[in-house]
Amino acid sequence: MEKTFKSPLKHIAFSVFAWLVGLMIFFPIFWMVLTSFKSELDAISMPPMFFDFDWTLANYVEVQARSNYFKFAMNSVVLSVGSTLIGLVFAVTCAWAMAFSPTKRTKNALLWMLSTKMMPPVGVLVPIYLVFRDWGLLDNRFGIMMVLFLMNLPIMVWMLYTYFKEIPKDILEAARMDGATMPKEILFVLLPMAVPGIASTMLLNIILAWNEAFWTLNLTTSDAAPLTAFIASYSSPEGLFWAKLSAASTMAVAPILIIGWFSQKQLVRGLTFGAVK
């Protein structure tokens, strides 16, 4: 990267710009964390207080006392990891077929799968709600897991497809000549070679499922409710409690933020995959 800029001035200008954008993106999260340590009064004071307020953990204690954080967190883990694992089983086989035995219409099928993501989810809220109601899947972990899995499946297939595309077909054919059956070929040859791609696909989907709020809020109430519902419960009709809401939000995003922080490299690779050769 050092060689990209010819003049040092341009380099500095670009760095400043990049930092500005970075700070703008980071600011809401920073503000949320900061607010969670304020009293409700300090939280809404004008002008806003940056560091010169009375730091307090009261909000965390209060939030903990009012609702069972761990129950929601457990649901979040089960839903995001569960939907990703189920998705992986389907996406790997699907992407394997598309990448190594393509037909004339494979590209169309991929685009069609992706196009389902262009529809606003609210468009199918009523039918899905009714189906869930009739099948007794409302506020059910399995039901919401299915929705999250289906919602992210196109992205998983697409990501794995672009990843598998880069694996030479010869190697799979060599495995076939060596007597590997289809499941063994996928398990012993394809998957070990695709570990980085699968890891980034998994991570991205866990994050997407963790943060998914539309379906989780509409289809769950308590038993299957993940952390999104936990946050939402603090924007109540009696009024907004900014500090408590911030404390709840901080606790909700903390686990995924930590995972994301430690797996930055994988995530960036996953997101830019296929964009650069």
């Binding site: 060599a174 000549m177 060596d178």
Partner: protein, 335 residues
């Protein structure tokens, strides 16, 4: 045993007839080379035999059994790929052992066979390495090792040397030939390089546009090419093709003269010519000349010839080694 017989084997991709129908007999223990220009269907034919592509019609018999519907592994063949196709995440040992593991062999048997193959191929010191840490020649050996341990009915090689540099290619060529001599297993080898074909094969199959142009021993193809295509493809530098009056005088439409079958003299001869370019290789000299009334020709002279541009020379083709072709490019055999 490894006798392979192709009966009217056809392959079409959509509307494209890649292989319109090939009949071929490969005897047990033979080293057969499929040779032809790129896109002639030689690799496709090999993949059909391997089972990596499905035939569109015809039969493939291995030791008398039709294997058209059998999976690649069930055919008992081993293949060495152009790209080596090693498993990058496995050590050399596991690469070689993979096929045996899939076949459910016991650990002791695998160990013995892998060590044995590594010994033959000088890979013993590299068994713990990953393919990424090996040179091109070593990778090729691992690919061959993987093929050997399965004790196949026949080996299939798909342009295995084209990724290697020139000197290594000559070495590997000799190694594969030596391997064939010691194993005596049927080998089917695909290449576009006629030198590899000539040096390695017991039997050469020349292909063009999915059709078999000629099948025969290397020297048979060299001495008695069935048509102009084979004549031009086998031998280097390429055979000279002369049309017009000179060919007509010898009862042919086209007359083929190999560059090495022309005597060169600075004093007298049958055809007068002017040197355009002289390539001096030391052991031999390639002369690219323009012959009077005939046109451009290539001549291969042994030893060093002190000739250069614009020099006048005389050429005398060896009358006993002329190749005559009719208007359709077929060889004329009758005198």
């Amino acid at each position: 045993m490894g006798a392979i017989r192709l009966e009217k084997v056809r392959k079409t991709f959509g509307n494209l007839d890649v292989i319109p129908g090939v009949d071929l007999d490969i005897n047990d223990g033979e080293f057969v080379v499929f040779v032809g220009p790129s896109g002639c269907g030689k690799s496709t034919l090999l993949r059909l035999i391997a089972g990596l592509e499905d035939v569109s019609g015809g039969k493939i018999l291995i030791d008398g059994t039709d294997v058209v519907d059998a999976s690649p592994a069930k055919r008992g063949l081993s293949m060495v790929f152009q790209s080596y196709a090693l498993y990058p995440h496995m050590t050399v040992y596991n690469n070689i052992a993979f096929g045996l593991k899939m076949a459910g062999e016991s650990k002791a048997v695998i160990e013995e066979k892998v060590r044995n193959a590594a010994d033959i191929l000088n890979l013993t010191d590299y068994l713990d390495r990953r393919p990424g840490a090996l040179s091109g020649g070593q990778r090729q050996r691992v690919a061959i090792g993987r093929a050997i341990v399965r004790n196949p009915a026949a080996f299939l090689f798909d342009e295995p040397l084209s990724n290697l540099d020139a000197s290594l290619r000559v070495n590997m060529r000799l190694e594969i030939t030596a391997l064939h001599q010691s194993l005596k297993t049927t080998m089917v080898y695909v290449t576009h390089d006629q030198v590899e074909a000539m040096t390695m094969a017991n039997k050469i199959v020349v292909l063009q546009a999915g059709r078999v142009e000629q099948v025969g021993a290397p020297m048979e193809l060299y001495n008695r090419p069935a048509n102009k295509f084979v004549a031009g493809f086998i031998g280097s530098p390429k055979m000279n093709f002369i049309e017009g009056a000179y060919a007509g005088q010898r009862n042919s439409h086209t007359l083929g003269i190999r560059p090495e079958h022309i005597a060169v003299s600075t004093e007298s001869g049958e055809i007068a010519a002017t040197v355009k370019i002289a390539e001096h290789l030391g052991a031999e000299t390639y002369l690219h000349v323009v012959a009077d009334d005939i046109g451009p020709m290539t001549v291969r002279a042994t030893g060093e010839m002190p000739l250069g541009e614009h020099d006048r020379i005389w050429l005398t083709p060896d009358a006993t080694r002329l190749h005559r072709f009719d208007a359709h490019g077929q060889a004329i055999t009758a005198p």
